[in-house]
Subunit: 361 residues, 2 copies
């Protein structure tokens, strides 16, 4: 049986969180584990409103260090620690500088955690660093050498070139591998690509019938390792009636971006491709100037990656769910703009939306 895989949008707003559209955060449930992607201010309250348990979070991925994707992280870590006496460690992945943010904010607030954590930082490529970086922020790996008392030594991950594009390999053990790819935003921003291993073959009703059996109690016997005789005396075991193996599921979660072509190859054939669409098509120029995308742009990036389903998120607060005035642009209009390019397999996210990522048939 494939593990349950579910995506929950906790916050689908951009820049300023509001009571209706919280700051960015997405949770990927995989079996019993919860992995969080981005943690804007107020995310811990959004977790409380959902059916998710903060104490089940084992990994947190931060796409980029803008406040609406980051400022809820320290509070969430404190809440995970207070909400139950878990001891399982938490791994936190994100751009270089993330460790310093965590150390300083947990340190100055004298926050102890009841679990260990480590920070795995992605070293951006030189072309991801913008001219403002040095002026606004001095990130040096040596200026916060002191680990938090609950922190284990992490590491810095450098990219390797794969098919001409930079790839950061974050997790290459376990049933769900994680790599990161390069986006283009005002500050270094990443997409995370989760690839499940090949799914084991399951019992094929078709093959069962080829032996003259009908599905029923016989399936349980075969799964339990028994061998069954056909009326003609042939001995049948589970391996005789297994179907094909299937490629595992692939989920891509992008940070803010106005140019996501560089992930097309590593995101290829994504079952779910989640991309921002901050502003409507007619505001493309403003969007790109701010490092953001329109629905049309998001759809084009998803098409490049041959994605099966596209979810849009990270909407400007100007877009309401439904229009109060006739001419007002709504989130549903953003969906229409994406569908014009991508076709019907495309939807807009909203806070608390959960969907299941089904295994291929």
């Amino acid at each position: 049986m494939a593990r349950l895989m579910e995506v929950t949008f906790l916050g689908t707003g951009s820049a300023n969180p509001t009571p209706n559209k919280a700051a960015s955060s997405i949770v990927l449930r995989y079996g019993d584990d919860l992995w969080m992607f981005d943690c804007g201010e107020g995310t811990q309250t959004q977790v409380m409103k959902s059916s998710l348990k903060a104490g089940k979070i084992t990994k947190i991925f931060i796409t980029h260090l803008h406040g609406d994707h980051l400022y809820g992280l320290s509070g969430l870590l404190c809440t995970i620690s207070q909400s139950n006496q878990r001891t399982e460690p938490v791994s936190i992945y994100g751009p270089l500088g993330l460790a310093k943010f965590i150390r300083v904010s947990l340190g100055l607030s004298r926050s102890e955690l009841c679990f260990r954590f480590k920070v795995i930082e992605l070293q951006p490529t030189d072309d991801m660093l913008k001219i403002d970086d040095a002026r606004l922020c001095n990130i040096s790996s040596t200026d916060t050498p002191v680990l938090h008392p609950c922190e284990d030594e992490g590491r810095i991950v450098h990219h390797t070139m794969v098919e001409g594009v930079p790839v950061w390999t974050l997790l290459d053990t376990g049933p769900l591998k994680v790599r990161a790819g390069k986006l283009d935003h005002r500050i270094p921003s990443f997409a995370f690509i989760m690839q499940e291993d090949m799914l084991p073959a399951t019992l094929s009703v078709e093959k069962l019938r080829e032996f003259g059996f009908e599905p029923g109690p016989i399936c349980a016997k075969l799964r339990a390792g028994e061998s069954i005789k056909t009326p003609t005396g042939v001995s049948v075991t589970l391996s005789d009636v297994l179907g094909c193996t299937h490629p595992g599921r692939k989920v891509v979660i992008c940070g803010d971006s106005c140019e996501s072509s560089a992930i097309a190859s590593i995101a290829k054939d994504a079952d779910i491709y989640i991309h921002e669409a901050t502003l409507q098509n007619s505001l493309r120029e403003t969007a790109v100037e701010r490092g953001h995308s329109t629905p049309q742009m998001a759809a084009q990036f998803a098409l490049q990656a041959c994605a099966r389903f596209l979810y849009l998120t990270h909407f400007s607060q100007r877009y309401t769910e439904s229009s109060r005035k006739k001419k007002e642009f709504t989130v549903k209009d953003l969906q229409k703009e994406a569908q014009q390019v991508f076709g019907p397999n495309c939807a807009v996210a909203q806070d608390m939306l959960t969907f299941t990522v089904k295994p291929p048939k």
Copy 2:
């Protein structure tokens, strides 16, 4: 006319914010200015839910650096900056270490602000520093020497001894003076004492009648500087009919504390005294162990300061507004516990509660 003075509780929870009780934040409105006291995670969303305008905030005071009083600060500053193109500077007051928190979080998130800000840090007394401080947090004034590009040089305020207790003088110009006093908590924690200047005398109806006049259009003439003749020919001007001057209003806002006796003298005769009451009286031992107060303790501290009205806040999330089960302790029960000691002039705060601080009659 005295300026309008109003207090709004934006968040009345403790430790973990929930959808019903947000993390700590209080706003004091004084005329057109808004001053914020503490800024827990999610405060910017609470401002949006209220009738207050984030862009009107000119001063922010942080009582102590625990996350539930601090983690919303960077997000709020970004929102003030984005919500309107204000250019008026913001002064931020709080314990030593606050500047580092702001510089690192704004810096790493590459946040530019459209206004200037400066940080005025309070140097705690040696006895306010706890044994855990050095282990959890290395605050050195020299390890973040670089100002944020939008930051003006602030200063560090040391205490002076006044009547045997340490006092930090933060603001000694303008109509509302601010001093801070020492509390006892797990980390350095302060109370802020706002003292309004003497209120100017206003026209006394009694004195008017002594001259044989009745209130009416004559008042406007006197206020406009005219002199009026009585039937007996005596010339009367405004100064002849003014009543007494009154001491200005005094508001005390305390951070987390299990021992607030040290502010009794500087908080003396407070019109409004706001103190935490995290846990009920029967949990006093647990409360004190965690550096917190019960309603009884809060009432005793308010009595020591001869406060006129006590507001309780910072309630454990276990207390609901009204009981679902008969034996469940509610926020109203906390109020009763305080009233047993302090009398009827005592109330419990709740998120979005606003009250006016009236000038004395």
